[in-house]
């Protein structure tokens, strides 16, 4: 029968796998931040062919569930790697999750970064040129810092979304918190208690992250609220 005692009993074992979840969050987030930035710039610069390919990529990721993307990578990557003579069949399943989530988050991040760069008034770019900075310098020193500040609320939401999405990783045999809960249940029973224990950990961390992001936003959001002011000013001019 269901008992809260087991939820408490299982907690140390399940929480011991929390680093795996952290790894599943941070590695894809960092990779996809760089990747998403590159995609956003490539789409903004309107590089022919590449732009169309990236548009299809973003559309695919936006419109398909993350679970299918994960399995497509899980089954597809070894076959793809075999073409290059690499045996990927016995790779650690964590790597497939890294790749799948990097693909997923990079597309969403690229959309966010793109819209935030567009939300920076065009005059900022021109001001950079006017004082003799190069295109790259203006981008790095003037546009990107402002764009990041605008995109921060969305980045926070995306981070929490990714954190919660890692609860799917057990499906490709990664032993994260949920995977551990399932393992425990095969030897000791009480699967529901294991799931509830995981859910509680996820909920507490998500709520904490939300509070942290709200605080950071409040500290950084001087001069505008969530970027709305800039967007409006741009459309009025």
């Amino acid at each position: 029968m269901f008992s809260w005692k087991y939820v408490v009993d299982y907690f140390p074992d399940i929480f011991a796998k929390f680093p795996v979840t952290l790894e599943l969050v941070f590695v894809p987030f960092i990779i996809s931040f760089l990747l998403g930035f590159a995609i956003a710039i490539a789409r903004l610069k309107k590089i022919p062919l590449l732009e169309q390919v990236l548009a299809v990529y973003v559309s695919y990721v936006r419109c398909t569930p993350v679970i299918t993307q994960m399995f497509v990578v899980y089954f597809g990557l070894p076959i793809l790697m075999k073409q290059f003579g690499v045996n990927a069949y016995d790779w650690n399943p964590v790597i497939f999750v890294f790749v799948a989530y990097s693909i997923n988050i990079s597309a969403f991040l690229s959309e966010t970064i793109r819209s935030s760069i567009l939300a920076v008034p065009a005059g900022q770019m021109e001001a950079g040129y006017a004082v003799g900075m190069s295109g790259f310098q203006t981008m790095r020193d003037i546009i990107v810092p402002q764009a990041l500040k605008i995109s921060l609320p969305m980045l926070g939401n995306m981070f929490i979304g990714l954190f919660q999405a890692t609860a799917l990783a057990y499906m490709v045999n990664v032993i994260d918190m949920v995977g551990k809960a399932r393992n425990i249940s095969t030897s000791r029973g009480h699967l529901l208690e294991g799931y509830i224990c995981c859910a509680i950990v996820f909920a507490i961390i998500s709520l904490a992250l939300e509070v942290i992001f709200k605080y950071v936003n409040k500290r950084l959001a001087f001069g505008h609220q969530n970027g709305y002011q800039r967007v409006r000013r741009r459309s009025e001019s």
């Binding site: 993350v66 497509v72 799931y195 996820f202």
Partner: protein, 234 residues
């Protein structure tokens, strides 16, 4: 490499299951919109006691991962079904109830915070003067809401609501953890014999992709339609 024969097989199996996902998605959307509307109203106009409780509940719902909500729902359901039946003195067994209802219930929990947030932002976007104008011509609060606020809100909310529909559609792919058959399960079941899982997941992904593109196009068309009646500042 990918075998075309198996791919077609899986694609057919996946296409057969599309209505199931659509039904789940639409049912959840309708329930969430109605419930979410009441929640949004209570939270926007700060109904005493109810508003803070709903605030906390919504924040809590948002904090759980979707697939854990689904898993916990189905397990609680199987554990508690007999108690529930005994309580209401009904004469049925667990096999008489289609799991899809449980799936819809769980999906509602997953989608409700997002949709009620969207509706709330729609409510907040309507200037207070609209209410006052309604009162000024002698309409009751309910009349004002139904005839003045709701139509305007609808226009504001549609683009974001189609976005949540898209993410809801993607969440329906998770119901196979509950054993409900959907596009994904249909495709993978077809792959079971030939062990052609890559083809199966690709087929499922393509079906979802097409549905997603259709939803996006509908969203764009609606947005264009509604923006016709709005005077643009520029």
């Amino acid at each position: 490499m990918i075998e075309g024969r198996y791919f077609i097989l899986c694609l057919q199996a996946a296409i057969e299951k599309i209505p199931k996902n659509l039904v789940m998605c639409l049912a959840t959307l309708v329930i969430c919109t109605i419930l979410g509307m009441f929640i949004a109203l209570a939270r926007t106009y700060r109904v005493p006691v109810l508003a803070p409780v709903l605030d906390a509940l919504i924040a809590l719902c948002k904090a759980f991962p979707a697939n854990l909500i689904l898993l916990i729902c189905i397990m609680v359901y199987t554990y508690k079904f007999n108690d529930f039946i005994a309580f209401f003195h009904l004469n049925m067994t667990i096999r008489d109830v289609d799991l899809i209802y449980i799936a819809i219930f769980a999906l509602c929990i997953v989608a409700l915070p997002g949709i009620s947030e969207v509706l709330r932002s729609g409510l907040l976007a309507i200037p207070k003067g609209q209410f006052e104008a309604g009162y000024a011509v002698g309409m009751t609060a309910f009349q004002t809401f139904r005839d003045i606020i709701l139509p305007q809100m609808f226009r504001v909310v549609v683009p974001t609501l189609t976005n949540s529909t898209l993410s809801l559609m993607k969440t329906t792919a998770l119901v196979n953890v509950m054993g409900v058959s959907d596009i994904l399960k249909g495709a993978t079941d077809a792959a079971q014999d030939a062990y052609c899982f890559l083809e199966a997941y690709l087929a499922a992904a393509i079906v979802f992709w097409v549905i997603g593109i259709i939803i996006e196009q509908i969203s764009k068309a609606l947005e264009r339609y509604f923006s016709k009646s709005v005077k643009q500042a520029v």
